[in-house]
């Protein structure tokens, strides 16, 4: 049967067909749907782990226990999982183990544009890179046999365009992979210096063996079109190149991007007069070719930053671009915004009003940095809001402590914010941490997490008690606020900033997009009362606009959260039936 699958769904299908039994991941765009789709197969145990390091270690443990396993994450998640990654390279596997990592060239939904191929080189691990959904399924399966054949974790590298594009996949049945027996072997699995030293030599030899395998494997393919021009490409970039150049050039299409097949590269060089290495982000293949003494074009022609497309390649290679037309008007940008009824909106409005320094974090609430709320000073990485606030306050002293907060979502707090809070309690900075508890992992599209009380499969489970957790690490002042109640939020913030000890404010209200959240009827502006002062526009709600001197609420968008009503000096915004005609 043929299906139109997302690259991520196709990876999950590959896991199913390869007999994978355990998947542990932390959500992150563009990798999230791998685990969501895998969770739909009853045969696969799936979980959302608190963070990527835990996920990788769970997968490693499952591999040791004899089950084929996978952990999936976005590119920056691999930074978090890098510690186990590098040493698992030495240990290898029992049953096959795969890291699926999705890079985000073009930063569709990320804080940086790092290239995960550098991790494959650094950790000396084989890395496969599929170019469409059919390859996502095939390479996911291949990764497990490769992992077991060469006794190594394998990295499956995706990019946004492959993860989030649908293409046709011919489904195949599952092949059960029996649970392998565990055998105690400290020299393989206990990485003490005495055992790790010899293992390093094994890893170096393994890389050479893998390089030999890469020369003849099916996924590295020389497409000789008799041209004097050769192109080396992998992943989505290969598709763009085929789109622009068709059969007018010869290709080395790489399915394995580490280690590289040096003989195949030499063969392409021998058959052509000039080679273009077309790769997004870092010049990884290009530099390797140059070290081999093969002159190639690469970043002298193509950009180092951003996502490629057929137009980028055409432009860089001097090809004609199709004609296009445009209106002369300036089109205002349409940046992403917090949704109508978003519980974060009231928090950022209050923070802006109080003119505090806001140490920010990763999630929907990072949108609090955008106008008109503009209430965020920093955003570094998962969990950094809390620890960086502690450092900021250690630098600034009381002057900083009275005018600064950290904001962090429930899922991010569990991921790596709690360690920063322990530092605040242990090393005593008088910091205020606002936990934005919307009862879900929001930005990545509603995943359960350890605070929600449900597993990835929707089964009830224990939930982290955030108040008790904060108290347990040594924070005595912990309070809960409803972010729709701007007055209560404002006084809580003022009190905690004044307090002479660290504190946590938990802003608690579920994400307005959750299915179980009931919406109120849309609000209306009484045009007779509205004086056009625009106070209501200050909260940046996409449902409120300004037309002909008056505020207007869009009834198709408004969910009746009521946060705007308190801002109107004339009480002009309210429920339709409450307003006297």
């Amino acid at each position: 049967m043929k299906e139109l699958l997302l690259g991520n769904e196709a990876v999950a299908r590959g896991l199913y067909e390869a007999g994978v039994r355990v998947v542990s991941s932390y959500p992150g765009t563009p990798s999230t749907e791998i685990t969501e789709a895998a969770a739909k197969y009853e045969e696969i145990y799936c979980e959302w782990a608190p963070n990527e390091k835990v996920a990788a270690e769970v997968a490693a443990g499952a591999s040791l226990g004899g089950a084929r396993s996978l952990c999936a994450m976005k590119h920056v998640g691999l930074n978090v999982a890098a510690d186990p990654l590098f040493t698992l390279s030495y240990i290898g596997v029992n049953a096959g183990m795969v890291f699926a990592v999705a890079d985000d060239p073009g930063l569709h939904s990320s804080q940086n544009e790092q290239d995960s191929r550098n991790y494959a080189i650094g950790a000396k691990l084989p890395m496969l890179e599929p170019a469409d959904s059919a390859e996502c399924r095939d390479f996911a399966k291949l990764a497990f046999s490769l992992s077991e054949k060469f006794d190594t974790p394998v990295i499956l590298r995706l990019t946004t365009r492959v993860s989030h594009s649908r293409s046709v996949v011919e489904l195949q049945p599952r092949q059960e992979a029996p649970l392998l027996p565990y055998q105690k072997d400290p020299s393989k699995n206990v990485m003490l210096p005495a055992f790790a030293g010899p293992k390093h030599k094994v890893v170096e030899q393994r890389t050479e063996d893998l390089r030999k395998w890469a020369e003849t494997c099916e996924i590295n393919r020389l497409e000789d079109n008799g041209s004097s021009v050769g192109v080396i490409a992998a992943g989505a970039v290969y598709q763009y190149a085929k789109e622009v150049l068709g059969d007018s050039v010869s290709y080395l299409k790489l399915g394995m991007v580490n280690p590289l097949p040096e003989d195949l590269i030499r063969e392409l060089a021998a058959k052509t007069k000039e080679i273009y290495v077309i790769e997004e982000l870092d010049p990884v293949i290009e530099n390797h070719c140059k070290v081999m003494g093969i002159p190639v074009h690469g970043k002298d022609v193509f950009p180092r930053c951003g996502e490629f497309s057929q137009a980028v390649i055409a432009r860089c290679m001097g090809k004609e671009l199709p004609a296009s037309t445009a209106v002369e008007e300036t089109i205002p940008v349409r940046p992403p915004v917090m949704c109508c009824g978003c519980p974060h909106r009231g928090v950022f409005y209050t923070l802006k009003k109080n003119k505090v320094y806001v140490s920010g974090d990763i999630g929907c609430y990072t949108l609090g940095a955008s106008a008109p709320l503009s209430a965020m000073d920093t955003c570094i990485c998962m969990g950094a809001s809390v620890s960086a606030l502690h450092g900021y306050n250690k630098a600034k002293g009381a002057e900083g402590e009275k005018k600064s907060v950290a904001v962090i979502g429930d899922s991010t707090f569990i991921h790596s914010g709690i360690t920063g809070l322990i530092d605040i309690a242990y090393n005593q900075s008088n910091s205020v941490v606002v936990v934005l508890d919307n009862s879900i992992t929001g930005m990545t599209g509603h995943q359960q997490n350890p605070t929600t009380g449900y597993t990835i499969k929707g089964d009830p489970t224990s939930a982290v008690d955030l108040e008790a957790l904060c108290k347990a690490v040594g924070i005595r002042r912990v309070r809960v606020c409803d972010p729709y109640d701007l007055k209560a939020l404002d006084s809580a913030l003022k009190e905690e900033l004044e307090a002479e000890e660290p504190s946590v404010i938990i802003s608690r209200r579920p994400c307005a997009l959750l299915k179980y959240v009931k919406h109120n009827p849309p609000l209306e502006v009484d045009a007779a009362k509205c004086i056009g002062c625009k106070a209501c526009l200050g909260i940046g709600c996409p449902a409120i606009s300004f037309k002909e001197g008056k505020a207007v609420v869009d009834h198709t968008q408004c969910v009746g959260c009521g946060v705007c009503t308190g801002l109107c000096p004339k009480g002009a915004i309210g429920k339709k039936e409450e307003r006297p005609e």
Partner: protein, 202 residues
């Protein structure tokens, strides 16, 4: 292959505001093409861009079963059809339309945040300006038609109906795809929305 061995691929670009249901439209179109038996790729947008921002999905499919789709994305001057869920977005992505291409556009206007905050203005008569560029424009009030069908949320299916008039697929394939894509209790409402869009889209 269609002509002289050249790979013949049709490109449909679907643009709108995050939350309007552009993803469903691209999935319905993609599934319909899969049923037709041609190669097809759909490129979606997930994550941060979905939160009320400008969103783009691409659908590309072969004209015949022999045609291969390589790139999943559409670049400037390449789209045969631009399906816009909002007027400003039609203007924003007009450069992606091929010469002689068709714009199917919802006349609904939604202010982006810079307009709401007063930092920018929503251009006046924007669809008139689009029409002046010498492209085929089919403009319809999809929101009104969706509300007529029973829900403002059916804007996407109204627009699928309007677009269907411009793509060579039997009507039954569309209806079958909608049946298999939307939740059961909303099937009739969505078929009604499709009908309203389809008859307006002539």
């Amino acid at each position: 292959m269609s002509e002289k061995g050249k790979n013949a691929v049709k490109s449909v670009m679907i643009v709108g505001v995050g939350g309007q249901g552009t993803l469903l439209a691209s999935r319905v179109l993609g599934s319909a093409m899969l049923q037709k038996g041609v190669d097809v790729k759909v490129s979606e947008v997930h994550g941060m861009s979905q939160r009320g921002g400008s969103v783009v999905t691409y659908v590309r499919y072969g004209e015949t079963p022999e045609d291969r789709v390589y790139s999943p994305v559409i670049e400037r001057g390449e789209a045969d059809v631009l399906l816009a869920f909002e007027a400003l977005e039609a203007a924003r992505f007009l450069p992606y339309l091929k010469k002689g291409g068709t714009v199917v556009v919802n006349t609904q206007q939604m202010d982006p945040m810079p307009v709401i905050t007063g930092a920018a203005q929503y251009p006046r008569d924007i669809l008139e300006k689009v029409k002046e560029q010498g492209v085929h424009v089919l403009a319809l009030d999809a929101l009104a038609l969706a509300e007529k069908a029973g829900s403002a949320k059916a804007v996407n299916v109204v627009l699928i109906g309007a677009m269907a008039q411009h793509l060579s697929l039997p009507r039954e394939v569309w209806e079958e795809t909608i049946r298999s894509t939307v939740p059961e209790k909303f099937i009739n409402m969505n078929l009604q929305a499709f009908e309203l869009g389809f008859t307006t889209g002539v």
